[in-house]
Structure formats: C-alpha cells, structure tokens
C-alpha cells in the first residue's frame, strides 16, 4: 500500500493580480520504506511539492492521501498534528535552538505531542544514540560541528517515530565528506525501515537514494528507480584510504 498518494495535485499562488501556477496536476505514489530524491531546477515547483507532501501547505486542487488519510483539506491545527506525528523534517540550515543542549532540541516534537518530561528525555537520548551522538546530548549546537548539528536535527526528526522523514537539501551546508556521512546515516536509517524523501540538486547526493523524481515547470518529468545506488559507507572508506595514501605520499616527499 502506498504511504503517499497524490492525485492531480495543483497549486496556484495569487500574488496580487498575478496568478502563479507552481504545480500542475502532479500524480505521485511513494510506498512504505522507500528512499526517494526529488530533483529539479529552482522554480520547478519542487519546494511547493515538498511543502505539500510535508503538510506545511495545502494544495489548491487534487487529493493527497497520507497513510490512507486525505490530508489535503485539513485545518491548520490538524496539519500541525500530522507534522508532529507523521513527518520528521531535516532542514538545510539545521534549524536548531542555539540556546539549549542537543537533547532539548531533539525532544521538541515530543513537547508538542504532550509526552511527559521524563519520557521525552529518555526518547531524546535514544534518538541521539541512533545517530551516534549519545555523548553529545548535553552539548549546545555551537559546541558541535556542522555534521553533528545535522545529526542532531535528524535525531529530532526521528524522535516521534514518524512515517516519513523529509530532508530539504540536507547536505547543502556541509562539505562533501560530511555530506557523505549524512547520506551514510540516511542509508542506514533506510535499511532500518525508514521512509525518506529528500530534495537535492546534487546528482552525487541524489544517487544515494533508490528512486529519483524529476520535476520541471510544475510537472513530474521523470521517475526512475536506481538499480545500483551509491554506497556512502564504501565511498567514505575509499575516501579515507585515499587521504591516508596522499598523506603518506606528502610525508615521504617532505622528508
């Protein structure tokens, strides 16, 4: 059964007198445990599509069923509840609260689903454990590296056991090596059963997913399964080997 089912989704923005059509009848199905990348140039409508799938916005037309439930006409509060329980967001700019330690950032979705404080703490620490940051639970974001911050954000996305994880350019603010480690984490989570939808414009990153959807002018222009996705862990170890070789070479040259 499909986790996400879009039928004839359209979105029109009214900007004063101008009407901008961002999406024109998008049909899309994403199944449980898929790892999908959405690609497209800016202005292709991919952000609008992501906002609608992520329940941050409502379509102007069409029907969106999430987990078998029509969510295209829900109220603001109902959408907030869906975002809280069904969706986990990972942003390009991490969007962590700078003032509080990691675990307090991670527990945030639980605060809004009225989980008692003690349970929130336990689950926040567990989620940090899943992204290998158990030892950084008490650190504030400014005491963490970019990659660690993004992993805190991923732990926050995971903490309420959502049906889908949305990642909007999750590696956009990271160097390529750290970006790869984030992909490795996504692949691992995917292996553990998570459904992930990711937006990116980098093909290198996109190829870590199992399926790529291309968007152009508000329509889906391509939908491909990737037969041999890149394996981030292998790339990372290759990269590490390479660096070690280069380092040895450099040392030899110098001495």
């Amino acid at each position: 059964m499909s986790l996400i089912r879009l039928r004839g989704i359209g979105k029109v923005y009214e900007l004063g007198l101008a009407r901008v059509t961002a999406l024109k009848g998008v049909d899309l199905e994403v199944g449980d445990r898929e790892f999908v990348t959405v690609m497209g140039a800016s202005g292709s409508g991919k952000s609008t599509l992501m906002n609608i799938i992520g329940c941050l916005d409502r379509p102007s037309s069409g029907v969106y069923e999430l987990d078998g439930r029509d969510v295209s006409r829900l109220t603001d509060s109902e959408l907030a509840a869906i975002r809280n329980r069904k969706v986990g967001f990972v942003f390009q700019t991490f969007n962590l609260l700078p003032r509080v330690p990691s675990w307090r950032n991670v527990e945030l979705p639980l605060v809004y689903s009225r989980v008692p404080a003690a349970e929130r703490r336990t689950r926040a620490f567990a989620a940090l454990g899943r992204v290998d940051l158990a030892d950084r639970a008490l650190h504030r974001p400014n005491e963490l590296s970019g990659g660690q911050r993004q992993r805190v954000a991923i732990a926050r996305a995971l903490v309420n056991h959502p049906s889908i994880i949305f990642a909007d350019e999750p590696t956009g603010n990271l160097d390529s090596r750290t970006g790869l480690s984030i992909m490795a984490l996504f692949q691992r989570l995917h292996g553990e059963g998570a459904t992930i939808i990711m937006v990116t414009h980098e093909m290198d990153i996109a190829l870590h997913a199992r399926r790529i959807i291309y968007l152009k002018d508000g329509r889906i222009t391509g939908d491909e399964r990737i037969k041999k996705p890149k394996h981030a862990d292998k790339e990372l170890s290759k990269m590490a080997d390479l660096e070690e070789d280069e380092l040895t070479e450099a040392i030899e040259k110098h001495s």
Binding site: L56, A80, R83, N84, L108
Partner: protein
Amino acid sequence: MNIEEGIRQSFDVLRANKARSLLTMLGINFGVLSLVAISIIGLSFRGFIGREMAKYGSEIMWVFANNRAYARGEPRTQLDGADVDYFRRTLPGLQYSTTFYYINARAVARGRGQSVSLFGVDTDYFQIFAASRRIAEGRALLPDDDLYRRPVCVVGPEIAGLLFGAEDPMGKRVSFLGRAFTVVGVTAPQESTFVSDGTDDTTIFVPQSFVAARIFGGREKRYYVLLLKFSDLPSVDNAVIRMENYLEKKYGLLRGEKRFRVMKFDTFIQIADNVLNIVSLLVLVISAISLLVGGLGIMNIMLVTVTERTQEIGMRMAVGARRRDVLSQFLIEAVVLCLLGGFIGAALGAVIAAVACTLLAWPFIFSLASVVIGLAVATAIGILFGLYPAWKASRLTPIEALRVEV
C-alpha cells in the same frame, strides 16, 4: 504547549539575553517597586500613627492663634488667664490642661558654660506627655515647685551628660536665669514621635513661672498655646464647640476669620493622613506611568524577538507546534519577563520601605496584598502588551517563517 514548558523555554531565552531582558524589565521594576514601597510605607505610617494615638490617647486637643487670619508681623490675640480659668472651670471631662514657654539661655555647671533651651512647664505637662516625656530618674515637676518658686529642674539625658559628664546629675546644681537650680529629675531618652512640642533630650524643664517671668516681666501672663486632655472623645467634641463659641463671642472675628484655631489630635492626624494620601496618589500615578512605559518596552522587545526568531517559529511549526502553541509560548515569555521584573521590583520596594521605616522609626508592616497586586498588575501588563507580538508570531505560516533569512 504546557505552561511549565513555556516557562522553561522563557528562562532559556532570558539566560541568552541577560542584559537586554534586564533593561527591558526596568520599567516594570520601577512601577512595581513604587507600588509596593508606597503601600508598605503608607501602612507603616498608619501603624505608627496608631501607636502614637495609643500613646497620648486621642482625647487631646489644643488651642492656638489662627495664623491664617493675621498679616505678617501683626500681633496675635492670645488667651489670657481669665480664658484659661474659664475653660478649666467649665469644660466637662477635662483632665489636664497645660501650656509651656520656651527661651534659650546660658547654663553654667561645674564652671563650664553651655547654651540650653529652657522649657517652662507644669505638672499637667508631664501628665499629658507621660508617654513621650517619661521620667527616668527622680521626679517630675510638682504644683508646689511653681507655687513656692522652688529653683528645681528636670534635665534631658543628653544635656545632663554635657553638663555633668559621667557623674549622676541628681541633686547637682546648674545656674541659669541668674540663679542656681537643683536637678530633681532626668527624662528618659526620647523615642521618635509624630507630635512634637519642640522639646528633645537637650531640654531643661523648669517651673513655668521662672520662664514666664522672663518673657512677660510685670505684664499679665498670656498663653500662646493651651493643651487640653479629656477623659473621653465626646467631651473633646463638646469642648471644641464650646471653646469656639466662647472665643468668637469674646474676641470676635478678624476680617471674617476666626482668631483662634481649636484643633483635635484626631483632626491633626487626619491632616497628616490626607497628605499621605496625596503623596500615595502621586506615587501611584508615577507607578502607573512607569508600568505603561515598561509594558510598551516589553511589547517592543517581544516584537524584536519574534522577528529575530522567525526561523525558530517556522521550525517549531514544522515539528508540530500549532498556532496556539506559538501564541502561548510568546505570551508566556512576555509574562515571565514582566513577572520577573515584578518580583525584583517588589523585593526592592520592600527593602526601600524597610529602610525608610527604620530611618523614621516607624513599625515596618509588610503588605502582602501590595506585593500580590503588584505581581498581578505585572502579569496583566505582560498579557496586555505581549498579546500583539505573540499573535503576530502565531499568524505566520510555517513556509513563510522557514523561508525568512535572518
């Protein structure tokens, strides 16, 4: 979002912006401070008045020239012996009546000179002022002292020290007004008092006739002020009417004004109370203005906060915060800011009031009600001025909040 969570987050924000939060609070601080301080001071003042009233008894009244009726330098009409005799004979319920005369003189004891203030008083004086002019050692002046013109005196503790050093002043001689007086009593150190007759711990009390003779020479003695004490309040009210009638009939009006003022202790206190009420009102106005300005400051800083944290609002909405969660969060932050300011203000206000009461020797009466009202007002200010920024924050949609570049 529950309130506990909102408060926890408010303190996170406060910690991150200490200086800014403190400055923003100042208006609220000052507003609540003045509110609490004036309430406590007012209460303590009334407590003090109550104590004074109990000390003297509120059945005291006095008569003196109505200065308002006279031009500058114009001779005042004064009571004479016949008036005073008449009052003493006819006023029902009268217990004591006295007057006093005051001159500065040079006193010599053990060969050393000292300028002193001499109060010519009588026995009734010590009766009426029994509470504030307690005799610590020896005796007060007696009717006989005046009758036989005995050269005796009662000295204040401070002047006793100045004249006789560490020695016991009792029975010692001190010379003034051209003759030697024997010390027969020493007054106890004076407590702070609301009604003062001009005496203090440096005063020397002597039988009235010595001082009166110096002032009036051969002329008939006049009474600048006549103090009366009655057995009960109705007698006081009755006496006021009778005395005013008598004085008006005998001396007439001066350019339409009464020549004398008859004042009850009660009335006197009332006047002081009215002054306090006016001062309280002024302070309350100041308090209200600073609370208003403080509230506007809170609103301003909350608007800045909402703008600064637009991305945070977007993120919170993305992870499941509803509009009302965002609204309550920012509202709670504004209220916490105001309440904290209120707490600091109330504490400072109480301290200031305590210091004032200590300095004035008033009993410190803590007013819990004023603190509660102060904090309630601070909370109301927080809600009133925090509502608009919080509402503004809650009206953001998650996409536009997330899209904002900071």
